[in-house]
């Protein structure tokens, strides 16, 4: 261990390596523990840290990630690698420009992004999307902690609009090479026929790589809630509002609204509600704010699914509500602390 430590000390002091110092420091932070002690009271600190926090989110995504590779083949792994490499380069470049360490939030963004893409997305589109998302979704705002929109969703929306034919026409069912071109939501819209719930739960339907294995997503959700890493308030209020709105809608107009359980188990809803709406940076921080955020996301999702030209509304609803997060928080805080 001592050898590694002195190696890093040497690398940090080396003059030619000065421009890449943030990278060295990041590596040191990952491999070695923190060299810092508390300055005074409190004399000891909680063991949680950003790396642990983000690792927990990644751990929660493992079931659905593994399932994605199993269902759709090694190409998914290539998409994930592509996302990490391209996004990582941009992240590192910005760290070098800012002369700050590389921020861990990217580890989550880089994995979420390929998981919300159709399994047939060409790698160059993955690269363009993650580059756009990291650059315009995060770095221009000043990096992790300062961004307004979920970077993975910014990238996803960009490529949805830029390459509509790739992003909406080429779906593929698990364990099959046949391009079906229809997700359960799209099928429902044209035929009013809902896919079997068991198939939806186990991911035996067409959809984005990471969104189909819903049992795995539910397991991840439980991990995130038990570890307190994500807010159950957002996830549950999101799902509850979708269920309630769909129930009311379906009772009044069964031809227009899909049934509530089908809505819950189709599309990117579970993935979005568990891994994306809960991003602490871009969602409200106040407890009532989280409920409002989740509820509004749910209402917008059902509205888009039912009345718009798009069959899925999860990503739009989350990004739309991201924009309102500061306003929601501000309102709640001002109500709580009235002058």
């Amino acid at each position: 261990m001592k050898i590694v430590r002195s190696l890093f000390e040497g690398l940090k002091k080396a003059r030619p390596l000065r421009p890449v110092k943030p990278v060295i420091e990041t590596l040191e932070g990952i491999l070695l523990g923190s060299p810092e002690t508390t300055a005074g009271a409190p004399h000891f600190l909680d063991h949680i840290e950003i790396k642990r926090y983000m690792s927990t989110v990644i751990a929660a995504m493992i079931p659905t990630t593994v399932a994605a590779v199993v269902f759709f083949g090694w190409f998914v792994l290539a998409m994930i690698l592509c996302s990490y490499v391209v996004g990582g380069i941009i992240e590192v470049l910005f760290a070098l420009i800012r002369k700050k360490e590389i921020e861990e939030g990217f580890l989550v963004t880089g994995l979420i992004f390929p998981l919300v893409l159709p399994p047939t997305t060409p790698l160059w589109v993955v690269a363009v999307g993650i580059a756009f998302g990291v650059f315009f979704g995060k770095e221009v705002f000043g990096g992790t902690g300062r961004n307004i929109f979920n970077p993975a969703l910014v990238g996803r929306i960009f490529i949805t609009i830029a390459f509509p034919e790739i992003m909406s026409a080429t779906w593929r069912a698990p364990f099959s090479d046949v391009i079906t071109a229809a997700t359960p939501l799209a099928v429902y819209r044209s035929t009013q026929g809902a896919a079997p719930y068991l198939d939806l739960l186990l991911g035996q339907v067409a959809g984005s790589t990471g969104e189909v294995f819903r049992i795995g997503i539910i397991a991840g959700a439980l991990l995130l809630m038990v570890t307190r890493v994500s807010s159950w308030r957002i996830t549950l209020s999101y799902l509850a509002s979708v269920a309630l709105f769909a129930f009311v809608g379906h009772s009044l107009g069964p031809q227009t609204f899909a049934p509530p359980l089908f809505q819950l188990l189709s599309g990117g809803l579970l993935f979005g509600a568990v891994f994306m709406a809960t991003d602490p940076v871009t969602s409200p921080a106040t407890k009532p704010g989280k409920f409002i955020f989740g509820t509004m996301c749910g209402i917008i999702t059902v509205l888009i699914r039912t009345f718009s030209g798009f069959t899925e509304g999860v990503m739009f609803s989350i990004v739309f509500m991201n924009a309102f997060s500061p306003l929601i928080d501000n309102t709640i805080v001002n109500l709580k602390y009235r002058p």
């Binding site: 002690t37 009271a41 409190p42 909680d46 790396k51 921020e103 038990v226 890493v229 807010s231």
Partner: protein
């Protein structure tokens, strides 16, 4: 009159930490040289009454000032005044070289039948024994020992909530006694503070002790005693939490419970009061718990006030490691340079924890069998292993990601994550006052569990200081609104 547990917001339970004090009491006897501070518990220094070379006996008053609020300072050993320091390690102090005897003369006028003594005598005994100074802010007597007089006291709270990481053992404090003596202490206070209601506050595990104490109180005819159970969460033992939780009163932030007419004391202080009155024993020693993995043995020590820490610690410290010595609390206590510091009248625990200048490799991937965390991301949250303490920060400084752990645990319901952003950006104005930054009680819990290792409490202190400098301190209004006591006409 068992009252229902009140709802307390926030807080965090420091459970199962390794290095708890062992339930064993060691009588350390008189030290050879003691250095007794003349500015106890952050009060203004009192004038020494002795001169260099003078012989003093244990329990003799060596400094006293009846004009300002304060308590007398007592010699803790028999011996000769060696020096009077204007500026010792921590303010002015008297240095006494012991003559080697352990004896201590009892106070004049005490009686085991204290019930027959008048309030006047009781108060005098409490004051002259120094026992009225064993609580921060002092215990009110007619001798100006606290900001208010005894007749103004409305509530007396005995708190034994084990809310700290390391808590002195109650059984050691009660060694050789029965709850009857606790009841006596309460009865003495009740006699000199006739208007006051008595409250016993403990954690769930102290329920039995509290109800036994109440029974003992009833037996000696003391019937205005309530008992309350609070969760053993940090900082539920602090007056800022106790007053709202137990009495349902708003706490005057920036002031003390005493300004509301509330006296809060711990078990050790109560027993010292009782011993002064019923046994004539001056408050010249403290039971100090040794805690933390930096000690090889962790007994409770009975130490004379003024005993140099160096002498005490030498035989218990684990010299093979670099250690940090902290007084009383790991969350709020000061780092003690044990070569210079001595035991003071408010010391209850000495904590030694390893200085860990290098954390373990690949920290984020470790299972964490012994790692404490508010987040439940470590195995230690789910298995009953003991947890360890060291001074490493266990992570890297990062910008706030609004995980809101700090908001969830804040015991006064403010939003540290929001307030720190304002201070960090230098936007320090009335908005922060409106967001109740002055409610912050400096418990440091937010800093403890910050995911991004941001010194939240420190930033909020900075914000408060800037606001005070700008004259935006709202405390002045509190005095009238809550009708606080203990201010002269001109101050109010």
């Amino acid at each position: 009159m068992a009252r229902k547990r009140k709802r307390v917001i926030g807080g965090y339970r420091f459970a199962r930490f390794a290095g708890q004090p062992q339930p064993e009491l060691v009588e350390a006897g008189a030290a050879q040289v003691v250095t007794i501070g003349l500015a106890p518990a952050g009060t203004a220094p009192v004038r020494p009454l002795v001169e260099q070379g003078e012989f003093v006996s244990a329990g003799q008053i060596i400094a006293r000032d009846d004009e300002t609020v304060g308590n007398p300072v007592l010699a803790s050993v028999n011996g000769t005044v060696e020096d009077i320091l204007k500026r010792g390690g921590s303010g002015p102090a008297v240095v006494i070289r012991s003559d080697g005897t352990d004896s201590c003369r009892p106070l004049a006028g005490y009686s085991a039948e204290w019930n027959n003594l008048s309030s006047d005598v009781l108060e005098k005994l409490m004051y002259l024994s120094g026992a009225s100074g064993c609580v921060a802010g002092g215990i009110p007597t007619r001798f100006n020992s606290a900001a208010i007089g005894p007749e103004e006291v409305e509530h007396i709270l005995l708190q034994i909530v084990p809310a700290e990481v390391f808590n002195p053992s109650i059984s050691v404090l009660l060694e050789g006694r029965d709850v009857g003596q606790v009841a006596e202490g309460l009865a003495i206070l009740a006699k000199i503070m006739p208007r006051a209601a008595l409250h016993l506050v403990g954690g769930r595990k102290q329920k039995l002790l509290l109800s036994q104490t109440r029974q003992a109180c009833l037996q000696i005819g003391l019937d205005r005693v309530h008992h309350h159970t609070l969760e053993a969460k940090y900082p539920n033992h602090r007056e800022e939490v106790l007053v709202p939780a137990v009495l349902g009163k708003e706490f005057p932030h920036g002031y003390s419970a005493i300004n509301l007419g509330v006296v809060i004391l711990d078990l050790q202080a109560l027993l010292q009061l009782r011993d002064a009155v019923a046994a004539g024993k001056p408050a010249i020693d403290r039971i100090v718990a040794l805690a933390g993995s930096g000690f090889t043995k962790r007994p409770h020590l009975r130490l004379r006030i003024g005993t140099p820490l160096e002498q005490v610690l030498d035989q218990y410290l684990d010299r093979s490691r670099e250690l940090r010595i902290v007084g009383n609390s790991l969350l709020t206590g000061d780092t003690l340079e044990h070569t210079a510091q001595t035991v003071d009248a408010l010391m209850s625990a000495l904590i030694a924890v390893p200085e860990e200048k290098q954390g373990p490799p690949l920290p984020f991937s470790r299972p964490g069998f012994r790692s404490d965390s508010y987040s439940r991301t470590f195995i230690a949250n789910f298995v009953p292993f003991t947890k360890t303490v060291d001074t490493n920060i266990h992570g890297e400084h990062r910008p706030c990601i609004a995980c809101t752990f700090c908001d969830n645990v804040c015991p006064v319901g403010i939003l540290p994550h929001l307030l720190h952003r304002y201070v960090q950006r230098g936007v320090i104005d009335e908005t922060l006052v409106r967001y109740r930054i002055f409610d912050c009680i400096d418990c440091n819990l937010c800093t403890y569990l910050c995911t991004s290792k941001i010194p939240l409490a420190q930033l909020m202190r900075k914000g408060k200081d800037s606001l005070k400098a700008e004259g935006l301190d709202p405390r002045g209004r509190t005095v009238h609104r809550l009708q606080l006591k203990g201010f002269g006409e001109e101050e109010a």
